[in-house]
Symmetry: C2
Subunit: 189 residues, 2 copies
C-alpha cells in the first residue's frame, strides 16, 4: 500500500538523527523531521508510526535473521553453536550500517526512555531466540538460558563494536565474547 | 530523619499491592495507598518518593548483597564462582519474602512500564556485579561478560522461582540454571 519514493527512508532517518543530535530526542517532533527531510508529515507517517520507529527500523529484520539462522543449522548442532552461528550471521547487517549505528547509539545514550526501550527490545530478542531453539527441540529452560546468554554475548559485542575507534568488524567482537565465555564457564568446578 | 512507626512500611506495601491488583498500577494514586493503609500521604512520602518505590523496595539491599558477597570471596576464586556464591547468598532474601515477590510479579506483569523498569534494574545490577568483579582484578570485558551471564542466571532462576507452584527455594533454581550453563557451554567445540 505504501507508495515507494526512492531514498525516502534514508532521508527521514538522516533527518531524524541530525535533529536528535542537535535538539535531543524529546525536543524533536515528527513535523521537524519531515521538514528537515524536505518531505511532508503525511509521508513520514506512511513509513513510521512515530519518531521512535525511525530509530528501531531494522530490529525486526535482525530478529528474523537470528531466528532463520538458528532454524537453518544442521540437526545435532548444539543450542549454543546454533546461537553462535546466528551471531556470526548478523555481523554483516551491522557492518553495513556502521555510521548509522554509531550515531543512533549516541542518541540512545542521551535518553533514559530510549535506553529502557532498547533493553525491552533485547528482552524481546531473547524470546525470539528461545522460541527458535524450542522449535529445534531444545527444552524450555535450556532454550531460555542459551537465548539469554546469546543475547548477552550480542549486547556485549555490539557495545564494543559500536564504540570501537578502529572500526573492526562486528564478528571479531562476537567471537571474542564467545571465546571468553568458553574460557570462563568451565573453569568453575 | 525518618520517624519510625512500627509496621508502617509493611502496611504501605500491602496496601499498594492490594490496590495495584484491584485497580492496576496506573489506576492507583499515592492518596489511595495511604488511605488504604490508614496513614497520611505525608507519611507515605516520608518513606517513598513515589508509588513505584513501594515496589522496588529492597532492590538496593539486593544489589549490595551481591556486591558484598563477590568482594568476600577468597583470592583465586574464579569470576563465575564468585557470581555463583552471590546467587547462593541472595536465596534467603527471596525465600523470606516469597508472598510479596509473587504478588509483586503479578503487578509488574500487568504493566509494560513496570516491566521496562524491571529490565533497567537488571541492567543496573549487571553494572554492580561487573564493578564488584573489576575490584577483584577481573579485566573489564570479562567482568562485563560474567556479570551479564550472572544476571541472566539470576533472572531465569527468579522467573522460575516466582512462578513455582511447589514453592521450592530460590537456590535450587539458581543451582539448576548454573548446572545447565556448565553443561551447555563447553559442549560447543
Amino acid at each position: 500500500m505504501v507508495r515507494w519514493e526512492p531514498g525516502t527512508l534514508e532521508r527521514l532517518q538522516l533527518a531524524a538523527l541530525e535533529l536528535f543530535e542537535e535538539r535531543g530526542y524529546d525536543g524533536t517532533t515528527v513535523a521537524d523531521i519531515a521538514a528537515r527531510a524536505g518531505l511532508t508529515e503525511r509521508t513520514f507517517y506512511r513509513h513510521y508510526a512515530d519518531k521512535r520507529e525511525v530509530l528501531v527500523s531494522g530490529s525486526e529484520e535482525l530478529a528474523a535473521l537470528f531466528a532463520a539462522t538458528i532454524a537453518a543449522q544442521p540437526d545435532g548442532t548444539t543450542p549454543l553453536a546454533a546461537v553462535a552461528a546466528a551471531l556470526d550471521a548478523v555481523g554483516p547487517f551491522f557492518d553495513s550500517r556502521r555510521p548509522f549505528s554509531v550515531r543512533r547509539q549516541g542518541v540512545i545514550a542521551a535518553s533514559r526512555d530510549l535506553q529502557e526501550r532498547e533493553l525491552a527490545k533485547l528482552n524481546a530478542l531473547t524470546g525470539t531466540l528461545a522460541e527458535a531453539l524450542g522449535q529445534r527441540g531444545v527444552g524450555e529452560s535450556t532454550a531460555r538460558l542459551v537465548a539469554t546468554v546469546g543475547v548477552s554475548l550480542f549486547h556485549i559485542a555490539f557495545s564494543q563494536w559500536v564504540s570501537d575507534p578502529a572500526g573492526r568488524p562486528f564478528n571479531s567482537f562476537a567471537q571474542a565474547a564467545l571465546d571468553d565465555l568458553r574460557e570462563q564457564v568451565p573453569s568453575t568446578s
